[in-house]
């Protein structure tokens, strides 16, 4: 579930508020968005793609609170890791053409 909106990194663009499919965040006038409905989070990690400053952390635990610390996540290079691997930049996909998924089918073990 979504756990962190980094006050240090967030630029209050509210893109996460808009892009979250489960309406988890609330925008705050002159403030950073708040996680208003954490248990509605479906742990899809998509808000991280839309965040232009890697200010969000979605824990891989879908039914429990991980309690991760921002400092530790930054030290481990986790903040924004999914966005980087997907090649998104400034809320836009820029890595689509680098997909190597065709290798799944090249041995003929499975047919699409």
């Amino acid at each position: 579930m979504i756990e962190i909106v980094s006050a240090d990194r967030c630029v209050k663009c509210d893109l996460c508020v808009e892009a979250c499919p489960d309406n988890v965040f609330d925008a705050v006038a002159d403030g950073i968005p708040v996680i208003a409905r954490q248990s509605d989070c479906q742990t899809c990690f998509l808000c991280e793609l839309f965040c232009p400053t890697d200010a969000l952390y979605v824990s891989p635990f879908s039914d429990a609170i991980e309690g991760a610390s921002e400092a530790d996540l930054i030290a481990r290079g986790v903040m924004g890791s999914f966005r980087r691997e997907m090649g998104w930049k400034n809320a836009k996909p820029r890595g689509t053409s680098g997909d190597l998924s065709y290798r799944i089918f090249e041995t003929g073990r499975i047919i699409p």
Partner: protein, 522 residues
């Protein structure tokens, strides 16, 4: 409160903004229609495709590759997939994928430079479609779930929706409506399925629509036990073990072996059969597979991790609204596409997860948009002056907060449907118990005295669970995704579809497979 209803008018209303809804909107607007596309969430992240990467099928008719994909569908469909339908769906898929390439979608290439069009990255694909629709002047309304359909003389004529944030109601009068609101995964936590609660089925059934194939819905996806990520493809290269380390399912149906063991205790997986080249393919193709591992410091290729099975219902199973050879439902003015429509003719009694489903969404979405446009043109301009009324007699006036009992109701539905020993494996005993429990929930008015989005979701979950349960009770055999422990054999006399419908009273009926898909003229 209903005393302040915003009104809108559009030729075609599309409910649901996943791939099927986006293709419906594109094809309707391309036919000269005004189009409103509404989604419960955000068009671009809502639904099962957005959260995943999806294989698609790019094979041209008459090639060996096409023959292989069709043969596989017919074999896995266990008597229910229809060759002509599969071929037509795949033809349209090639057409749409070529159109995407023509528009400039940055498809990947093989190492030798040939284009590869067999994979669509969910968030990339849907953001691309969203931009395309906005440029084409489709009006997109995010965070605006549909609540119920509007009718005019038995013809679907729009819908009532409600903004999720402000709570204002919106009455959308439309010449035709496309339901592309996805399937139902019963809030199992499977990836990207939180919004997929069967809302479109309920709205359509209230208007009199028929569903079909709802018993072929016991599809489960494997995920790490703590995680939402039901990305099944990697497990083809995995080894499953129980707590003691015994390897499961070395012969036969591995998923059933995992399911049986999960009833008794923990099950683990390790992706030890994936060679380095494929590991890199997964890493650089489908990063979301690895988020749950990387963030916990697990190497899934060498270390075993606990897994579970999450119900994927009709999102990756088969059942849904009955349609004709294109996308017309049994109610005039109403079209259905993607997971919202029954996929029996494409996937038969089994899952069409991945390529077949994404192809189905593209084809039926396109047909729904085209046929909705043709329907509006045939109505002529006078449709705008039709008198319309709500489907339900309930006055949706009380917009109070959901009370705690709605969550309790949802939990009861989940308990009846999700557990492996009730949902994956079925018996007359468990199905009858589920039927009684679900019927009592539906009849109970106390938990829905306040009618709001949560209550509507709970109603849709109950209704979908009841169609599934009654259809599964009627089919006294095992076939594909219907696994009856009390009827373990397939019965060739039951190569018939089961139609269902109704809300207060659920009906089920065997119907012959051919011509199961009605002619469009009827």
């Amino acid at each position: 409160m209903l005393n302040k209803i915003e009104k809108a008018e559009t030729d075609v209303l599309v409910i649901g903004g996943g791939p099927a809804g986006c293709w419906a909107a594109w094809n309707a607007v391309s036919a000269g229609m005004s189009v409103i596309l509404i989604d419960k969430g955000y068009v671009g992240t809502s639904g099962a495709t957005a959260a995943g990467n999806t294989t698609t099928i790019y094979t041209k008719r008459g090639t060996a590759e096409r023959a292989a994909t069709v043969d596989q569908r017919l074999r896995l469909g266990q008597g229910f997939a229809e060759q002509a339908v599969v071929e037509t769906v795949l033809d349209r898929t090639v057409e749409n994928l070529d159109l995407l390439a023509h528009w400039g979608y940055p498809f990947p290439t093989y190492e030798d430079g040939r284009p590869y069009r067999g994979m669509l990255r969910g968030p990339d694909y849907l953001r691309f479609m969203r931009q395309k629709l906005i440029k084409a002047r489709v009006k997109i309304l995010d965070h605006c779930p549909a609540e119920e359909l509007l009718l005019s003389d038995g013809v679907v004529a729009g819908a009532i929706a409600r903004y999720r944030r402000g709570g204002e109601a919106l009455a959308i009068h439309a010449g035709a409506v496309v339901i592309a609101s996805g399937g139902c995964a019963f809030l199992s936590g499977a990836l990207g399925t939180n919004n997929l609660t069967g809302d479109g089925y309920l709205m359509a059934a209230e208007a009199g629509a028929t569903l079909s194939g709802m018993e072929f819905s016991a599809q489960y996806g494997i995920s790490p036990a703590y995680s939402s990520v039901t990305k099944g493809v990697v497990y083809f290269w995995g080894t499953f073990t129980n707590e003691a380390g015994d390897v499961l399912g070395e012969a036969g149906d591995r998923q059933s072996a995992v399911a049986q063991e999960l009833i008794k205790g923990s099950v683990y997986a390790v992706l030890d059969k994936a060679p380095p080249r494929l590991q890199e393919g997964f890493r650089r193709g489908q990063p979301n597979i690895f988020v749950p591992f990387d963030r916990l410091g697990i190497d899934p290729f060498t270390e075993r991790f606990p897994i579970t099975l999450r119900h994927e219902g009709t999102v990756r199973g088969t059942g849904g609204l009955k349609i004709d050879a294109r996308a017309g439902t049994t109610v005039p003015g109403l079209f259905a596409a993607g997971d919202a429509a029954t996929r029996q003719a494409m996937s038969g009694a089994t899952t069409g997860g991945g390529g077949p489903n994404s192809s189905w969404a593209m084809a039926t979405g396109s047909w729904a948009g085209e046929d909705a446009a043709a329907f509006v043109k045939a109505l002529g301009p006078l449709w705008r002056s039709r008198t319309v009324h709500r489907v339900s007699a309930v006055a949706a006036s009380d917009r109070g907060e959901a009370n705690d009992t709605v969550a309790d109701v949802t939990d009861i539905v989940k308990q009846q449907i999700l557990p492996v020993d009730r949902g994956f494996f079925r018996t007359a005993e468990t199905l009858t118990a589920a039927s009684q429990s679900l019927n009592a929930l539906w009849a109970d008015e106390t938990w829905r005295s306040r009618r709001n989005a949560r209550v509507r979701e709970a109603e849709a979950l109950i209704a979908t669970a009841r169609w599934v349960t009654e259809s599964a009770l009627l089919r006294r055999e095992s076939r594909g995704l219907q696994r009856r422990l009390d009827h373990p054999e397939q019965n060739s006399a039951l190569r018939k579809a089961i139609d269902t419908g109704g809300t207060d009273h659920i009906w089920t009926s065997y119907v012959s497979l051919s011509p199961q898909r009605m002619s469009h003229a009827s």
